[in-house]
Amino acid sequence: MPTIAFSHLRKSYATTVAADDVTFEVRPGEVFGLLGPNGAGKTTLLRILMDILAPDAGAILVDSRPIERRDRDGFGYLPEERGLYRKERVQDILIYFGMLKGLDRRTARSRARAWLERLDLPGIERRRVDELSKGQQQKVQIAGALLHDPGVVVMDEPFAGLDPLNAVVVKDLLRERSRAGGLVILSTHQMPLVETLCDRVAMIHRGRLVLYGSLQEIRGRHGRPAVLVGLADDVDPGALPCAERIEAQGVLRRIVLKPGARPRDLMEALLARGLAVDHFEVVRTPLEEIFVGTVRGTEGGQDDDRERAGGGGEA
């Protein structure tokens, strides 16, 4: 599978800059997450990748050469919103999409049936799209994107409209493809899914790349160490010099440590005050927190926090 690079992409509309010199790359065998708030420019980047939109500047490179049409024939694409003919039968639509990707009619038909079974939708081939639920439509569309067995899967919000059970089915499917050496690029808002599915991520805000790298690297750089603590009594943050803030998390308290502070400093401080500790667990910073913090930081003009990744550089 190839390495795909988004190289210095720029795209602007009448009053909005949707991509502002965005550069990052996606490697074979990985699930890559494209994150960002609404209107950040994620969909624009995916549309440029699929040649639906032309960039104002920059290019998409495949193994360091400009992308060609035949490269894209090996891509499977799921757009952000439902892309199905509402009045037509599921089978006819899937066969049409498969044939547009080069399959013959018979192969497209048998693969459509197999994919629908795989996605727990057996027997709906002859039903019209407008008779299906939102989640079923989403799965039909996912089947359409994977029908021609693409090496590169590009999905814009693939989990939208799926219940937790179906989200797991789709997640397993994407994992399976990356394990088989395929390349999966997805955009999503659902951070818990990103944490369990993506190997690396890029975060876009107002058309600019603000975070890029593996989850571990991003946490290492932007996360604050935190500890989940079970205490019998209340504690004042001022009484713990190593604590930045204390948040209630169920019956426990999540104490975020100041930069440079270690969990053992917190333990010593708690014991020194004679507090009864019945739970002490070092936890990772949720990606959502980094996400929100980065967006707020960027909006607050803290541009020094922005990372401009070039030539595959890590965050």
Binding site: A14, R47, M50, D51, I52, L53, A54, R69, R72, D73, F75, Y77, P79, E80, E81, R82, G83, L84, Y85, R86, E88, Y96, F97, M99, L100, K101, D104, G144
Partner: protein, 447 residues
């Protein structure tokens, strides 16, 4: 199958399966028949059933001009139009026994009016009273000097088939009676029919001075083929553009368009759609023409017998190229509309640009098919299809001239497809927004 082929076959099948398509395709002949029946045939049928047309018309001749032998003759022959209707009726009967109903109606309309003379006005009024006649004419004593005729009828309508026929028959009767005995039979016949089309002939003088008989049927076909193709082109464009815009709005709304554009180039998508919808449009026209052909089998047979194959092929080439060029421009601009209605209006502009100029100057083009105006419109890609069909119908356009026009049109098709594909892509992704002129220009330049 190529991607264009996949798109074409999908568009064709999706269109012909649409309920609206089926209703229009098979409903149109039914509604046309209904319309024709209601406003054309039914009155004649009722007239025939009621026997009104068979009633005699009264005549009170106080001037003494009507000759009895001419009055009797009027009962066996009508005016020119009635002769024509009778001729069509007999041709129909010979051509197709299924046309019996139409024949009866035409015979009813063409049946000659019989006159019954009455000695006085009172006698004629009495005849109306007992239902023998529904109308009578009275020629006053000074008729020859004044030309005044009095008409009496049972109803107060001045319009109507029966009244018109009676008035025309009276004129013929008076004309013949006034001329009888004053002119020889031959001269009287010529006054009635100055040129007898059946015995007349036309000749063509070739540039070298050679004279050859002019084949009327072939001449009719040379006019009919371009006109038929021009009509077909316009109808196909209108029908296909309608379905195309309907389909595009659906794809835009349902976002299917993103999946399509991620799999095929806009040019391929546009081309496939044009071919598929063009085929569906032609199928629809085929159904209509077949149904209409049933009613006019004679005309179709005559046209086929005199078909000029060379002209047919030339018109076919211009039809296909014209459809591709104007259809692609209609689709490209139609995609820019923010609603189906706006899209239709934008698209319709092209058909006006393509059809209006050559139709507006059709007479000068036909008079001088190799003149500067005819040549300019014939070489300009947008107006070339209709203009060249008209020009080629005259049979006087040199081969090189036709070739230049085809080449210009091919270049036009290429440019139109490229520009339309760019507009198409731009328009399809502009959900609910209209692109600025600057953006349009940028996209076309990029294409």
């Amino acid at each position: 199958m190529s991607k264009v082929g996949v798109v074409m076959s999908r568009e064709f099948l999706a269109t012909v399966r649409r309920r609206s398509y089926l209703i229009v395709t098979f409903g149109m002949p039914f509604f046309a028949a209904l319309y024709f029946g209601l406003f054309g045939i039914l009155p004649a049928v009722f007239m025939e059933r009621s026997g009104a047309s068979r009633k005699e018309v009264g005549l009170v001749d106080l001037a003494g001009v009507v000759r009895p032998e001419e009055a009797a003759r009027a009962g066996t022959a009508g005016g020119d139009e009635q002769d024509e209707a009778a001729a069509i009726a007999s041709r129909l009967a010979r051509a197709d026994p299924r046309m019996r109903a139409a024949r009866r109606i035409l015979e009813t309309v063409s049946a000659p009016v019989r006159f019954r003379t009455f000695a006085s006005r009172a006698e004629a009024i009495a005849a109306i009273g007992d239902g023998t006649i529904d109308r009578f004419y009275m020629l006053p004593a000074d008729y020859v000097a004044s030309g005044a005729v009095e008409s009496y009828q049972v109803d107060d309508t001045t319009l109507g088939v029966a009244g018109n026929r009676a008035a025309r028959s009276l004129e013929t009767l008076l004309e013949r009676s006034l001329l009888a005995g004053r002119l020889s039979r031959e001269v009287r016949d010529r006054v009635e029919t100055p040129t007898d089309a059946a015995r007349s002939s036309s000749f063509l003088v070739r540039p070298g001075g050679a004279v050859e008989p002019l084949d009327e049927a072939a001449r009719l076909s040379r006019v009919a083929i371009p006109v038929a193709f021009g009509f077909l082109l316009l109808m196909s464009l209108m029908t296909s553009a309608g379905y195309m815009i309907q389909g595009m709005s659906e794809e835009k709304e349902s976002r299917v368009i993103e999946i399509l554009l991620a799999s095929v180039r806009p040019e391929e998508l546009l081309f496939g759609k044009l071919l598929g919808l063009g085929a569906a449009g032609l199928l629809q026209l085929g159904v209509w023409v077949s149904v209409a052909g049933f009613a006019t089998s004679l005309v179709v047979a005559a046209a086929l017998a005199a078909l000029d194959l060379e002209l047919f092929l030339i018109c076919l080439v211009f039809f296909v190229l014209g459809f591709l060029m104007i259809g692609s421009l209609m689709t490209g601009t139609g995609a820019l509309g923010t609603s189906g209605r706006e899209s239709q209006q934008l698209a319709a502009l092209w058909s006006v640009v393509a059809v209006l100029p050559p139709v507006a100057v059709a007479v000068p083009i036909l008079d001088d098919p190799n003149g500067p105006l005819a040549r300019a419109l014939g070489w300009f890609p947008l107006t070339a299809p209709i203009t060249m069909m008209l020009r080629c119908g005259t049979g006087r356009v040199p081969a090189w001239d036709i070739l230049v026009s085809v080449l210009c049109l091919l270049a036009g098709v290429f440019l139109a497809l490229r520009s339309a594909a760019a507009l198409f892509r731009l328009g399809l992704l502009m959900y609910g927004k209209r692109p600025s002129l600057r953006e349009l220009a940028r996209q076309i330049r990029r294409a």
